[in-house]
């Protein structure tokens, strides 16, 4: 039933309570929103630097995690909701916390590697994100990508109580995290090498949402077009950058 019709005639208190009952993942979306605020503020403060913005290894890793929060959490609400509904009522938010910790673990490992790469000079050019977007577009056509995408929708049993419940939430989160890493690593590297530019972040987010929608509706891919557009945009910037360096 349409949620607006279903709520017709209900008091505000009941509506609010229903919302929190039906959407235990609300604070995950809140975290993503906060991460977007931090990312956009950071991008605005350093807008003059573009891809040349340099940070320490730790700062790059922290920024990577914030980017993962901003871009990936809205894409995994289904798994978060599953974790909550498969847990006892009293511990469903704890279960979500365990799931998120497990989910972030593989991303943290990739983020540290990306931050190490970012210490090299060649990643501070428009060529690096352009190549990563090309790689992401190519990656979307591979069987590994398809299988990883299917694995993103896997579920795992969660024990009801005690440390087995915490262990299962961590394990389920890391399983989904690994699948997401296998799916999105070139796209996230592209965003990282783009210096967390708002255009790359929003573009990456749109690609992720289009892919999610395509998977759920089983429609023809349009994420390829979006990724190709981002690749073309950064390729143009890379060409301009190379021409400028040749003339100066």
């Amino acid at each position: 039933m349409n949620p607006f019709l279903a709520n017709a005639g209900r008091s505000l208190g009941i509506r609010i309570r229903s919302f929190f009952w039906l959407h235990p993942e609300w604070w995950t979306i809140g975290l993503a929103g906060a991460a977007w605020t931090v990312m956009l503020h950071h991008a605005w403060r350093n807008s003059g630097h573009g891809v040349h913005h340099a940070m320490t290894l730790i700062a790059e890793t922290v920024d990577w995690i914030v980017m993962v929060f901003a871009m990936m959490l809205p894409l995994i609400t289904g798994a978060v909701r599953f974790t909550a509904s498969a847990s006892l009522w009293a511990r469903r938010h704890r279960a979500i916390g365990g799931f998120l910790l497990g989910y972030l673990a593989p991303w943290l490992a990739v983020g540290f590697a990306a931050a190490l790469l970012r210490q090299a000079g060649w990643t501070h050019s428009y060529t690096a994100p352009a190549l990563c977007f090309v790689l992401a577009a190519r990656w979307q056509g591979t069987t590994t990508y398809k299988r990883a995408q299917w694995a993103c929708h896997r579920t795992r049993p969660i024990a009801p109580l005690g440390w087995p419940a915490d262990r299962d939430c961590l394990r389920f989160g890391s399983l989904i995290g690994l699948a997401c890493v296998r799916t999105c690593w070139p796209l996230m590297l592209a965003c990282e090498f783009a210096g967390h530019s708002p255009i790359a972040l929003v573009g990456g987010m749109v690609i992720g949402l289009v892919e999610k929608r395509r998977f759920e509706r089983r429609r023809r891919p349009s994420a390829f077009i979006a990724t190709g557009t981002m690749a073309a945009y950064y390729a143009v910037l890379a060409i301009l950058e190379i021409r400028q360096s040749m003339t100066s």
Partner: protein, 171 residues
């Protein structure tokens, strides 16, 4: 027997919160089904969320989830029974049967390289009436539930079928 009509009429009810399913019990580890009947027991916890609204009411809905059933070979369907008396054959108690797990498509859904990522099949059985019946027969324990799986007819060796979890939901 038909219940007496509500004097307020069907449209006079105060709108209440929507029904939300609350998990109240589940198994902790995966287990296997085979050629012999398999019985598992799960502890039922007292609801602490939306299921409290309908606690003790005949309007409470009860669902049994059998999650991520998977197998690498063709497998027979399985019949599901609740609270079969110890030592009895489940087939001797058709009144305790709550459903059937059809295994058509099980192989495809169990393939880790397939479209379903090896998730297997998940079944949801509405056991509301059976639970009301068990309660009326004094065969319902609000602290634990015994579930028995019995294979249907199969002309070859019954393979081991993995079940990741059985869970109970009140709504």
């Amino acid at each position: 027997m038909q219940s007496p009509p509500d004097p307020k009429g069907p449209h006079q009810h105060q709108p209440t919160a929507p029904r939300v399913a609350e998990m109240v019990g589940a198994t902790s580890e995966p287990f296997y089904l085979g050629p012999e009947p398999t019985e598992i027991t799960l502890a039922i916890h007292r609801p602490t969320g939306p299921a409290l609204l309908h606690e003790g009411s005949a309007k409470r809905e009860v669902y049994l989830d059998i999650e991520n059933v998977s197998c690498s070979e063709p497998a027979p369907p399985f019949r599901v029974y609740l609270n079969v008396p110890p030592g009895d054959e489940p087939e001797d108690h058709p009144e305790l049967r709550v459903g059937n797990l059809g295994t058509f498509g099980l192989l495809q859904r169990s393939d880790p390289k397939g479209r379903h990522g090896g998730n297997g099949m998940t079944f949801t059985l509405d056991i509301t009436e059976s639970v009301n019946h068990l309660t009326a027969m004094n065969n319902w324990d609000s602290g634990k539930l015994r579930v028995t799986f019995s294979p249907g007819y199969w002309d070859t060796q019954v393979p081991r079928v993995k079940v990741d979890r059985v869970s109970l939901y009140f709504k």
